[in-house]
Amino acid sequence: MTQPDWRGVAAEHEDDLPDRVSLLLRDRSRRLLGSLLRPYKKALIVLMVVVLIENFTRLSVPYLVGQGIDHGIPPIEAGTGSTTLLKIIGVLLVMVVVQAITRQIFLVMSGRIGQDVLLDLRRRMFKHFQRLSPAFHDEYTSGRVISRQTSDIDAIYELLETGFDGLITAVLTLVGTAVILLFLDLKLGLVSLLCFPALWWLTTWFRKQSALAYRRTRETVAVVIVHFVETVNGMRAVQAFRRQDRNQDIFARVNDDYRAANERAFRLVGVFMPGIKIIGNITLGIVLLYGAHRAFDGDITIGTLTAFLLYLRQFFDPMQDVSQFYNTFQSASAALEKLSGVLEEEQSVPEPQQPTPLPDAEGALSFQGTAFSYVPGRPILPGLNIDIAAGETIALVGTTGAGKTTLAKLVARFYDPDEGRLTLDGIDLRLLSEEDLRRSIVMVTQENYLFNGSVADNIRFGKPTATRDEIVAAAKAIGAHDFIIALPDGYDTDVANRGGRLSAGQRQLVAFARAFLADPAVLILDEATSSLDVPSERLVQRALRTILARRTAIIIAHRLSTVEIADRILVMEHGEIVEDGTPADLIESGSGRFSDLHEAWLASLA
C-alpha cells in the first residue's frame, strides 16, 4: 500500500469545493447579504455620514498642522501676537474632538449592526436546518450542518469584528488623502500619486497569490483538525491496535503540509508588507527631495511640506492592514456562499400553508396506493394499500431491505410518498401542521440520541411540561426506574460526555420512557429494543402490552417474541405486503412464511 492514499477517495460535495479566487459574490450570496442588511438601511446611511465626517476630521489634522506652521508662527515671530495660531489650534481641537465622537459612534453602531446581522443569520440558519427534511440531513451529514453553523458563521464574525472597520478606513484614507494632496499642491501631489500604479500592482499580485495561499492553509488545517479529532475520539481503537506510529506518520505529514501552506502565506505577507513600506518610503524620499527644491524656490511653504509628509505617513499605514483584511474577507465570502446555498435549499417535505387541524387524533392510518423510491427508477415501495385501525398494534416482519423502515419513515413523515396518499384519521399527512403531526405520531429508533443534561431532562423531552412525578411514572412503566435510581445522582445524573455513563441498553430505555411520556396516538418502534438485554426487553414487553393498548402501534423487530404482542402481522417482501393477518391466523394457515418461521421457532424451543 502506498502511503499517500490513506485518506481514500470521496465524492466532493458542492459546498466543499474550493472557494473561488474571485472577489465577486454569487447572486445568491448577494441576495442573502441584501436581505440581512435591509432592516438597517437607515442606520447604514447614518453610518456612512458618520464615517465621512470622521475621516474628514481625521484627514484635516495634518493640513491644520501645516497651516499652524505657515500662518501661526510668522505673526509671533513678527511680534504681532498669537491670535492666528490660537484660532488654528482651536479648529484643530474641535476636529480632534469631533473625530473622537464620530469614531466612537461609528465603532458602536457598526458593531451593533454587525452583531444584529450575525444574530439574525445564526437564528435563520438554525431554524432553516431544523425545517429541512430528514432526506436533506441524511445526505448533508451532521458534520456539515455543524460546520456551517460554527466555522462559517465564525468566519463572518471575524470579518465583522476585525476586517470591516479597517477596510472602510483604508479606502476612505486612500481617496481622501489623494484628493487633499492634489489640493495642497498639484505638482507635489501628482508626484506623490506616482506611487499609485506600483501600489495597485503590488496589491493585485498579493490578492491573487494570497487567495491561493490562504485557501491552501484552510484546506490543510481542516485535514489536521479532522485527523486530530478522530484520533482523540477513537483513542480506544488507536491504542488497542497500536495505531500510534502510523498515526504519527500521517499527522507529521498533514502537520507539515499545514506548515508549508502557512509558510507560503507568511512569505507572501513578508513580501507585501515591506513592499508597501518601500513604495511608501521611496515616495516619501522623492517628495522630500522635490518638495525641498520647491520650498527652496519658494513655490511651497514648509508647512505644506510638513503636511505632505504627515499625509503620506497616514496614507501607507492602513494599506498594511489590507493584507490581514483580505484573508478574512476571503473566508467570509466563501462562508457566505455556503450559507446562502443552504438557505436556498427547498424543503422536500413542505409544511402545509393552511393545515387541516387535528387536535385529538384517533390513530387510524391508511396507505392508499402509496409508492416511494429514494432513487428514481428503483422503487422501495411500489404501491401499498393498507388500512390500520385506530388502536391496532401492527408488527412489520420481513428481511433487511424489504422496506419496513421506509414504511415507518413515511408514517413519521420523514419523507413524502411519490405517489398515492398516506392518511391519519382520513387526513393526508401533508395537510397536517407540524405540531399536530408530531403530537400524534412519534417514532423511536435504534438511534437513541441523548441531549446534554440530566436523565430527567432527557425523559422530559417527550413532554416539556411534565412534572417530576410524571417522569418517574414513565420510567417506572418502562422498567427504567431501577437503573436510574442506582445512578450516582438518580434522575439528576448528567448524561454528558458522549453519554459515557449509560450503556447502550440504558440509553434505549431512557429513549423509551421519553416516547412513553409523549403519549402519542401512533407510536412507531423501529428496532427500538435491539440493544436491550433479555431481562430488560422482557420488562419493556410487559410494559408495551399496557402502553400500546390505547394507541396505534407499528413495531419493527427481528425477534419473534416482540412480534407476539401484535394484533396483526404484516409480512413484507420487496416493498409489498405478502401476508396479512393475526398471528393465530397466520400460524394456522400452516403454509405461509410466518408460519414457517413460527414452526422453526417452536422447534428451537424444544
Binding site: S82, R112, Q115, V232, Q239, A240, R259, I302, S561
Partner: protein, 608 residues
C-alpha cells in the same frame, strides 16, 4: 484518581493535571522548541533593532533638510540629503523583508514541532485521560493555543522589546530636541499605558465570556444537528429553537459589551496622541516664534512624535498577546505534564500461547469509588473461547478493557502466559490482544486503512480473508472499493456495516487473544449467522473473550462466565448453566426470548 503506580522514576509530579498560575515560566519551558532557530531569532532581533534606528533617522534627515538648505538657501545639500532619506527608506523596508522571511520559517517550525509532540504525547495518554478530556478542549490546544504561542514568539516578544526600546529612544530624542515638548509627549504616554492595563484586564474577562458563550451556542448547534431526528420525531423544534434563541441572545449581549468596551478604548487611544499633537503644535509654534527652536526641529519633532503612536498603541495589544501566550503555554503544558498512568513494562513476549488469567481483579473508574468489578477470577486456556454474559451495566465491557490495558485493574492482576500484563511492553501486549468494539470507531480514511488499523503491512490476501470472515464484502461494492473514504468525511455506513468492518479489523490483526465486545449486536440475524459460521475457524485457533447478549453468540464459546454483582459467579457450559443457574436462565433462557429470529430462519429460504 488513578492509583496505579507511575513506572517512570523520573516523574514525581502528580499524574493528573497540575494547575499553576500562568507565567513567563511556562513559555520559558517551551524554549527547547525554539533552540534550532536561535540564529533566526538573532537575525530577527538584529534586523528589527537596526530597523528602529533607521526609521528614526529619517525624520532627522527631514529636519536637516528644512533647517539646512531650505532655511539657508543652499542648493548643494538637497540632493545628498534626499538620496540619504531614500537610501534609509529602502534599507528599512529591506530589513523588514529579512525579518519576516526568517520569522516565517522559525515560528512555523516551532509551532509544528510542538504540535507534533503534543499529538505524540496525547496518543500515549491512557483512556482514563481521554475519558476526562473533551476532544474540543484538546483541539483548541493544538490549534488556538499554538497559534497564540506562535504569534507571541514571532511578533509579540520581538515587538515587546523593540517597542520599549523605540519608546525610550524616541522619548530621549524628543527630550534632546526640545525638552519641554519632550516632556509633554512623555507625559502623554502615562494615561495610555494606564488605560491599556485597565482595558486589558476587563477585555480579557469579556472576551473570555464571549468565547465561552460561543462554545455554548456551538454545543446547541451540535446537539440539534446530531439529535435532529429525535427532535423531529417528537416535534420539539420550537423547544430547541427557544433554547438556541436564549443562548444566542446571551452571546449577543456579551458581544455588544465587548464592542462598546473596545470602541471606547480605541477611541481614547487615538484621542490622546491627537491631543498631545495639539499641545505640541501650540507650544512648538510659540517656541519657534520666540526662536527657542528651529522650524526644522518642530517638523522633525512632530514626525517623530507620530512614529510613537504605533509602539504605544500596540503595547496594549502586545501585552494582551503576552498574557494570552502565557495562558496558552500553560494549557499546552497541562497536556505535556500529564504522565501516562499506563506505562509498559520490560518484557516482550515474542510468542505467547494465549493463556489468559484474571486473578482477584478489582476495578473502578478513576472518577468514582464504586467497584465495577470485584474479585474477578477467570482462567482462559490457550485457544479457548469464553463468553461473558451479564445484565446491562454489569461490567462486561470494563472487564474486556482490562486485557489490552485500556484501563488497569485497581487490584489483582491480569496475566498472559503467567506474565502480569503490566510487565509486558505495551507494543507486545497490544499485538497479542485485539478487540472488536461494539460501537465501531471508523476514521475518515480509506476502507483499507480502517481495516488494516492494527496491521498496516497486511497483504492483499490477508485483507481479503479477514473481510470474508467478517462478511464485510460490501466494501468491494463501494464506489472506489477499498480505496473509498469512509467515516464522517466519507461514505456513511450502517451500524451493521461498521461492526463488520471492526470485526474484520480485529481478525486481520491475527491476535493471540481476540476480544469481541458484543460486536454482532447491530447485524441482522441472517448476517450474524454467516459471520458466526466464518468466525468459528478463527476462534478455534485463538484465545477469545466474547461478550454476548444472545444465545446464538454464546454458542460460539466453549465455556460461559456469568458476570453478576460485579463478579463472576458461575463458569461452565451453556447447557449446564441453563439447567442449574436460575440467574443465567433469566438472562438467556429460550422460553423467555426466542432466538429464532424471523430473518434468521428465513435466511435459508431466500437468496441474497
Amino acid at each position: 484518581m488513578p492509583s496505579s503506580p507511575i513506572d517512570d522514576p523520573g516523574t514525581l509530579e502528580d499524574p493528573t493535571t497540575v494547575r499553576r498560575p500562568a507565567g513567563v515560566h511556562s513559555i520559558w519551558r517551551l524554549r527547547q522548541y525554539m533552540r534550532p532557530y536561535r540564529r533566526s531569532l538573532a537575525i530577527m532581533g538584529g534586523s528589527a533593532l537596526v530597523g528602529v534606528f533607521v526609521s528614526l533617522s529619517i525624520p532627522l534627515v527631514t529636519k536637516q533638510m528644512i533647517d539646512g538648505p531650505i532655511a539657508h538657501h543652499q542648493v548643494g545639500p538637497i540632493l545628498p540629503l534626499g538620496l540619504l532619506a531614500l537610501a534609509l527608506g529602502i534599507t528599512e523596508a529591506g530589513l523588514i523583508l529579512v525579518r519576516r522571511w526568517v520569522q516565517a520559517r522559525a515560528v512555523l517550525g516551532f509551532e509544528t514541532a510542538v504540535r507534533d509532540d503534543l499529538y505524540r504525547h496525547m496518543q500515549n495518554l491512557p483512556m482514563e485521560f481521554h475519558g476526562r478530556w473533551q476532544s474540543g478542549q484538546l483541539l483548541s490546544r493544538i490549534t488556538m493555543d499554538l497559534s497564540a504561542l506562535r504569534r507571541f514568539m514571532g511578533f509579540g516578544l520581538l515587538f515587546l522589546i523593540i517597542n520599549i526600546i523605540q519608546l525610550l529612544l524616541v522619548t530621549l530624542l524628543l527630550l534632546k530636541l526640545f525638552w519641554p515638548l519632550g516632556l509633554v509627549v512623555a507625559l502623554s504616554a502615562v494615561p495610555i499605558i494606564w488605560l491599556s492595563k485597565r482595558f486589558e484586564s476587563r477585555y480579557v474577562v469579556v472576551s473570555r465570556g464571549v468565547q465561552d458563550q460561543q462554545g455554548d451556542v456551538a454545543t446547541a448547534v451540535e446537539e440539534a444537528a446530531i439529535g435532529y431526528r429525535v427532535i423531529k420525531s417528537f416535534g420539539r423544534r420550537a423547544y430547541s429553537q427557544a433554547n438556541f434563541h436564549d443562548k444566542t441572545q446571551t452571546l449577543y449581549e456579551t458581544s455588544m459589551e465587548k464592542v462598546r468596551l473596545s470602541a471606547r478604548f480605541w477611541t481614547f487611544l487615538e484621542v490622546i496622541p491627537n491631543i498631545s499633537l495639539v499641545v505640541v503644535l501650540l507650544l512648538g509654534a510659540l517656541g519657534v516664534g520666540h526662536h527657542q527652536l528651529t522650524l526644522g526641529t518642530l517638523v522633525a519633532f512632530i514626525t517623530l512624535m507620530l512614529s510613537l503612536i504605533w509602539p504605544i498603541e500596540s503595547l496594549g495589544v502586545i501585552l494582551a498577546m503576552a498574557q494570552e501566550a502565557m495562558t496558552a503555554a500553560d494549557r499546552v503544558l497541562d497536556i505535556f505534564d500529564t504522565r501516562s498512568s499506563i506505562v509498559g513494562g520490560e518484557v516482550g513476549l515474542a510468542y505467547a500461547s494465549g493463556h489468559l488469567r484474571f486473578e482477584h481483579v478489582d476495578f473502578h473508574y478513576p472518577d468514582s469509588e464504586e467497584l465495577v468489578l470485584q474479585d474477578v477470577n477467570l482462567d482462559i486456556r490457550p485457544g479457548e473461547t469464553v463468553a461473558i454474559v451479564g445484565a446491562t451495566g454489569s461490567g462486561k465491557t470494563s472487564l474486556t478493557a482490562l486485557v489490552p490495558r485500556l484501563y488497569d485493574a485497581t487490584a489483582g492482576r491480569v496475566t498472559i502466559d503467567g506474565v502480569d500484563t503490566r510487565d509486558l511492553t505495551l507494543a507486545s501486549l497490544r499485538s497479542l490482544v485485539a478487540t472488536a468494539f461494539e460501537d465501531a470507531t471508523l476514521f475518515s480514511m480509506s476502507a483499507r486503512e480502517n481495516v488494516t488499523l492494527g496491521r498496516p503491512d497486511a497483504s492483499e490476501e490477508d485483507i481479503r480473508s479477514a473481510i470474508e470472515t467478517a462478511q464485510a464484502g460490501f466494501v468491494y461494492d463501494l464506489p472506489w472499493g477499498l480505496d473509498t473514504r469512509i467515516g464522517e468525511q466519507g461514505m456513511s455506513l450502517s451500524g451493521g456495516q461498521r461492526q463488520r468492518l471492526a470485526l474484520a479489523r480485529a481478525v486481520l490483526a491475527s491476535p493471540r487473544i481476540l476480544v469481541l465486545d458484543d460486536t454482532l449486536s447491530a447485524l441482522d440475524v441472517h448476517t450474524e449467522a454467516l459471520v458466526e459460521r466464518a468466525l468459528q475457524q478463527v476462534l478455534a485457533e485463538t484465545t477469545s473473550i466474547v461478550v454476548a447478549h444472545r444465545a446464538s453468540t454464546v454458542m460460539l464459546a466453549d465455556r460461559v462466565a456469568l458476570l453478576s454483582g460485579s463478579t463472576i459467579t458461575h463458569v461452565g457450559k451453556h447447557h449446564d448453566l441453563l439447567a442449574t443457574v436460575p440467574a443465567y436462565r433469566e438472562l438467556l433462557a429460550a422460553d423467555a426470548d426466542s432466538e429464532a429470529d424471523l430473518d434468521g430462519h428465513r435466511a435459508g429460504v431466500m437468496q441474497r
